[in-house]
């Protein structure tokens, strides 16, 4: 029992050279690998393929509106950005993917294969959440470019570029903030889908459009502020409380940046403490 531990075993054929070349993966490399695995798993699912088809609907709407004279130009592009991208895809798609990133492998127990690798625990969740944010941002950016081309093209493409850059920036920030928010829901709740839905469509969807100072408590308010838009307050409350003006661009950027960093950091650090199922 008290004899010294033996030296490592003689490696099998071919293993010795590989072991000599081996270099433990850094956080970025491991995160990249894990992100790829996550998306391979998630994107293969039929419901996600359907979601991909649903994402083409805005493009169809834009083409239809343009063809029938129902809408074009900057106003139409902004309307699509807020009502379709921000309030539907940014919330719905990120919710589904971020919650899946946290919960699925725990529920399927495949996480044990990853936890037995020389990868720091926080990197596992960070890699997956990074992949969620990247795919949501890229997916929406591609779609936004398509809608932009239809809404502005072909004559106004150059003139509309600043607005396109503005929208792409907002969609990227939305992907980061909401990935953190829904990732945190996944870490905090055993059954996170319902609380995440309440946060997405109750808090972010409804409170962001109340009059008074309430919208300042939502990320959606600051995202819309970056587009130069304020809350769309309606109803009786507007008689009692004045609508809030959009936040200044710098304030909105700072709030969203801090929120994204805090939410992602919290989700990842709490997730790293979770034990295997």
């Amino acid at each position: 029992m008290s004899a010294p531990a033996p030296s490592p075993p003689p490696p099998a054929e071919g293993l010795a050279e590989a072991l000599a070349r081996r270099r433990l993966p850094g956080a970025l490399e491991a995160g990249w690998l894990l992100g790829r695995v996550f998306f391979r798993q998630v994107l293969g699912r039929r419901r996600v393929l359907w979601a991909g088809l649903v994402m083409l609907v805005p493009l169809g709407m834009a083409i239809y509106a343009r063809a029938t004279g129902g809408g074009s130009g900057e106003g139409f592009f902004l309307e699509m950005t807020v009502n379709v991208f921000l309030q539907f895809f940014s919330l719905g798609l990120t919710l589904y993917l971020a919650v899946s990133a946290v919960r699925d492998e725990h529920e399927d127990r495949t996480i044990v294969f990853l936890l037995a690798r020389p990868v720091e625990r926080w990197v596992i969740l960070a890699g997956k959440l990074g992949a969620v944010a990247a795919v949501v941002a890229l997916g929406q950016a591609l779609l936004a470019c398509g809608v932009y081309a239809v809404a502005f093209g072909p004559g106004g493409l150059l003139a509309g570029l600043p607005r396109l850059a503005n929208v792409l920036g907002v969609l990227t920030l939305a992907a980061l903030v909401y990935t953190g928010l829904f990732g945190l829901c996944g870490v905090l709740f055993r059954h996170p889908m319902i609380p995440a839905l309440v946060v997405a469509f109750g808090w972010e969807g409804a409170v962001a459009n109340l009059p008074g100072a309430f919208p300042r408590l939502t990320a959606m308010f600051y995202l819309k502020s970056l587009l130069g838009l304020g809350p769309e307050a309606h109803g009786l409350l507007t008689l009692l409380l004045p609508a809030t003006a959009p936040a200044a661009a710098l304030t909105a950027l700072a709030v969203l940046g801090v929120a994204a960093a805090a939410l992602l950091g919290l989700a990842v650090s709490l997730g790293a403490r979770k034990e295997a199922p």
Binding site: M1, S2, A3, P4, A5, P6, S7, P8, P9, P10, P11, A12, E13, G14, L15, A18, L19, R21, R22, R23, L24, P25, A30, L33, L34, V37, R40, Q41, G44, D108, R109, T110, V112, F113, L114, L115, A116, R117, P118, V119, E120, R121, A272, E275, A276
Partner: protein, 310 residues
């Protein structure tokens, strides 16, 4: 704590009000160690603690001299084969093993080569390109072994790796694990079947209800098991008469009647089986069926953990 390969002291693990492991202490230096216990004994919990999948609620656990929780350096030296049968189902077997090997720091070509070698080691090279969902239970079991072996670990922690394998595959896996042990790889393997462990190691840890019941040479545990009264159930046309006859046997210590069934308890199962065979052949009591109630480890554990009832 000393320099044992696997050790624990005052180790406790509880899930809410449920105590999974209670004040476990041991230190083992043997290369291959068997972890024996019935379902619910805490074997998987102990193995998960050793692999850093769980954190101890109290006490300490060490593998190769290191605390496992969030220990990247130890994970690089470890191969873990979990008990459950869950995978990335759509992924081909080779890609699955190669991906997990890449996470050990090998570049893509090396990882693919090592993954192929590991699959060959467990005789899965022919199905390497198949998606995991298309593999049989036995193949999936061996795939778990392959992912644990591919990166050439110094320690292997295997949770019921033989379950679901046919006898030939079992023999091959046992041989493989013995070879690894001979090469100096520390192998910790759990099972609830003593003879499986016996074929691989002489050193076992006996766990029951989260406590260490015994540890040491297999022979000592085997002696405990042989001393354990063996229960045999018989179905007969005339159970009452059969019971009376069996009670006259010297080595039968107890007889119970359960309808058409007679349950006896004996300290000499071999002699008893022989005599029951003679009775059955004579046709005197209409014996229709015979069943050993103690062919599983749980019966032995029940016996071992309840000395006060004996």
């Amino acid at each position: 704590m000393g320099s044992a390969r696997v050790q624990a002291s005052g180790l406790c693990k509880w899930y809410g009000p449920v105590v999974a492991l209670n004040d476990l202490g041991f230190a083992v230096q043997a290369p291959v160690v068997g972890l024996l216990g019935p379902n619910g004994a805490g074997k998987s919990t102990l193995l998960k603690l050793l692999c850093g999948q769980l954190r101890p609620s109290k006490g300490e656990v060490r593998l190769l001299g290191e605390a496992p929780w969030d220990n990247r350096r130890l994970m690089a030296r470890l191969g873990y084969c979990p008990e459950h049968d869950r995978f990335y189902e759509d992924m081909p077997a080779l890609e699955f093993v190669a991906l997990l090997t890449r996470l050990h720091g090998f570049d893509s070509p090396d990882a693919a080569r090592l993954a192929r070698a590991a699959l060959a080691e467990v005789e899965l090279e022919e199905v390497a390109a198949r998606p995991i969902r298309a593999l049989s239970h036995g193949m999936r079991q061996r795939l778990k072994l392959a992912q644990a072996l591919a990166h050439g670990p110094e320690a292997l922690v295997l949770d019921e790796p033989l379950s679901g394998l046919d006898p030939l595959q079992r023999a091959r896996v046992i041989e493989l694990l013995r070879r690894l042990g001979d090469r100096g790889v520390s192998v910790l393997i759990s099972s609830h079947v003593l003879h499986e462990l016996e074929a691989m190691t002489d050193h076992i840890l006996l766990l029951s209800r989260g406590r260490m019941l015994a540890q040491g040479a297999v022979g000592e545990v085997r002696a405990l098991i042989d001393a354990h009264p063996h229960r045999i159930a018989l179905e007969a046309a005339r159970p009452r008469e059969l019971g009376r006859e069996l009670l006259s046997f010297e080595d039968v210590v107890r007889v119970e009647l359960e309808g058409a069934r007679v349950v006896i308890e004996t300290r000499s199962p071999d002699t008893c089986y022989e005599r029951i065979g003679e009775l059955a052949a004579s046709g005197a009591f209409g014996i229709r069926a015979m069943l050993s109630l103690d062919d599983n480890m749980e019966a032995v554990f029940r016996y071992l953990v309840q000395p006060e009832e004996r």
